[in-house]
């Protein structure tokens, strides 16, 4: 993860769709343009859908990191529409 300077992290493994995306979106709203958020999410529906929703909001997806425990960290740069 050294290649990205993470500003903040949010854990969405404790909620289900569609709150997963809402929680991530709220966390992104707290950031300044260009800052980077790491979103911790579960396998299955969150990892299938959250990256796409983030993209549709206009933010820049940089990387999806596969963790050993079956979770993922989506690295997103806040981009104002």
């Amino acid at each position: 993860m050294a290649e990205f300077r993470i500003t903040d992290t949010v854990d969405i493994t404790d909620v289900v769709c569609p709150v997963t995306f809402v929680k991530a979106k709220v966390a992104l709203e707290e950031l300044e343009e260009g800052e980077i958020l790491s979103i911790h999410m579960n396998d299955g529906e969150p990892v299938q859908n959250v990256p796409r929703s983030i993209k549709e909001e206009g933010h820049r997806v940089l990387k999806l990191i596969h963790n050993d425990d079956g979770t993922y960290d989506l690295i997103v740069q806040k981009t104002e529409a």
Binding site: Q48, P51, R52, K55, E56, R60, V61, L64, Y72
Partner: protein, 286 residues
């Protein structure tokens, strides 16, 4: 003179249980009715019917309780606002569609435009039995393509561009079929796993995945007394010209081979799928 019920039915007027009362079916394409048409329909329901409409299972609109003697009058009244009667009986019925790529983020094709083209080409065409077309924009299949005699499902023919790829790994997970694998700076797609859903294209943050419209066609679906799921027997169709050539060939096959009162699924079952599949493959190849 007694009413000619068969002619009335063909023209969208279905006889009700109540004496000399008819439910008037309207021509609707792809579930789209303009505000202007809706106003006229509402007015007609108040003036000629019982002040309500029935929304059918296939996106149709019907005005019940039209009196036999007012049929011509209600037709003229609606025609003034560009509302036409529908059809019933052994012919091509309402062409259904979802909103497709025009509005829906998941839509791979302009389902309404395809429905309009099919409607222009075939609506009301006399056949041995009813024949239903349905167009759905993507694999989510909101419009249930396979329950139609000929169903069209939108898809994407995908292509990956290395220069634009940042190897973020999103597409590998977005794919529900496990068709995409990323290893050592290379992305591979298992062609037999890809169902053309286009999720890799919509999920890709950099536009490295490109998708062009594709059509997956199913034949012989029916969902009434007998239930059969339409079958996809062709590879993905990549252009509209081919789609229409295939549709022409399928409907001609039905016209030439079905017995009166026999649905497409039954014709295909009776004659076997092999010769039909061969004909469709010929149409597909042009």
């Amino acid at each position: 003179m007694a009413a000619d019920y068969a002619t009335l039915k063909a023209g969208g007027f279905m006889r009700q249980k109540q004496k000399d009362m008819f439910s008037m079916r309207l021509r609707v394409v792809g579930g789209t009715v303009t505000a202007q048409q809706l106003k006229a329909i509402a007015e007609a329901a108040e003036k000629f019917g019982h002040s309500y409409v029935h929304l059918t299972s296939r996106q149709g609109v019907e005005i019940p309780f039209i009196r036999l003697e007012e049929i011509d009058e209600v037709k003229d009244f609606l025609a003034a606002s560009d509302v036409q009667p529908g059809v019933c009986g052994p012919r091509v019925r309402t062409v259904t569609a979802c909103q497709g790529g025009r509005c829906c983020p998941s839509g791979c094709i302009d389902a309404l435009e395809i429905a309009e083209e099919l409607d222009r080409r075939y609506f009301g065409r006399q056949l041995p039995h009813k024949f239903k077309f349905g167009v759905t924009g993507c694999q989510n299949n909101c419009l249930k393509a396979e329950e139609n005699d000929l169903g069209v499902k939108g898809g994407m023919v995908i292509d990956w561009n290395r220069e634009e790829c940042i190897f973020c790994g999103v597409c590998e997970k977005a794919c529900r079929r496990g068709a995409i694998s990323i290893t050592d700076g290379e992305i591979r797609v298992a062609p037999d796993q890809c169902n053309h859903c286009g999720r890799c294209v919509t999920a890709c943050p950099t536009g490295a995945w490109k998708g062009s419209e594709g059509f997956l066609v199913s034949f012989g679906g029916t969902f009434g007394n007998d239930i059969q799921k339409g079958r996809e027997i062709l590879p993905v169709i990549r252009d509209r010209e081919t789609l229409l050539r295939v549709a022409d060939a399928a409907i001609d096959y039905f016209a030439d081979n079905a017995q009166p009162g026999e649905r497409f699924a039954k014709t295909l079952e009776r004659l076997g799928w092999e010769s039909f599949t061969e004909k469709m493959l010929n149409a597909y190849s042009g």
